[in-house]
Symmetry: C2
Subunit: 151 residues, 2 copies
């Protein structure tokens, strides 16, 4: 079903149809792919795109599961440029609110916030964990922990 018995819809040239519309609720701030996690990073949009970029660029992928407006997913922004530089130059980054269909991304369950790494061979690196033994891939605001892992 498509909402109504009769539906009038533009199927084509949608690119030329989107200018100057203002919602009833007022002008919206354009949604950013960073979702507040760093506008200067090149965030992948979808998991498929993230995997493609990881493989083609031979860079590991960081998947960040979070909730919008969840206090545990956020923190006070501070400048830690070196970390952003590492993520920007050596990683593919992807943040997502909705769970993906890939169950390998939830080795110990679906919760937020959590971070999972995937290497360019598309292997989920479930050996890279955080500091919490009950939720291995969780982190909390205020935690700034360096994880040193060999590969």
């Amino acid at each position: 079903m498509l909402a109504a018995a009769s539906l009038v819809l533009v199927l084509v040239a949608l690119s030329s149809t989107f200018a100057k519309y203002v919602p009833k609720s007022g002008q919206r701030i354009p949604q950013s792919l960073s979702r507040g996690w760093g506008d200067q990073l090149n965030w992948a949009q979808t998991y498929e795109e993230a995997l493609f970029l990881s493989r083609s660029r031979n860079k590991p992928l960081m998947v960040l599961f979070h909730l919008e407006d969840c206090p545990h997913s956020q923190g006070e922004p501070v400048q830690l440029s070196p970390i952003q530089r590492i993520l920007d130059e050596d990683f593919v980054v992807f943040n997502v609110i909705q769970e993906t269909v890939d169950q390998h991304l939830s080795p110990d369950g679906q919760y937020v916030p959590r971070i999972i790494f995937v290497d360019p061979s598309m292997t989920v690196r479930d050996d890279i964990i955080g500091r919490y033994s009950n939720r291995l891939y969780a982190y909390e605001p205020g935690d700034v922990k360096l994880c040193k892992c060999s590969s």
Copy 2:
């Protein structure tokens, strides 16, 4: 493998690490989920999110496959507010560059630009087609066609 023999990475509190980093290539414009297809629409980020929103809001989903910077995916922006309003109020919208894993979204192949509709019961509406007989779900810039379909 994760790029280097030894890897130092922040696993936690990433929300507090993203401020003020500037890439070598210079400040970037934040990536928008609209990708130029209408900043005032609430674009879903991923296909999973789009399906979830479609089902929970009982609104049909429009999936727009395109390429960034592809001339055939773009057109001269003009104001057609009524169409944007319909999409904004009665649909869930999702635009994507990378193909999804759902093969039902490519009934006659993977090409861009193309538009596929999915109804809230998660059924791909492959009966809603465009004007081209060889690529049923394609559209071209300059085409502004109304499709009247009953359901």
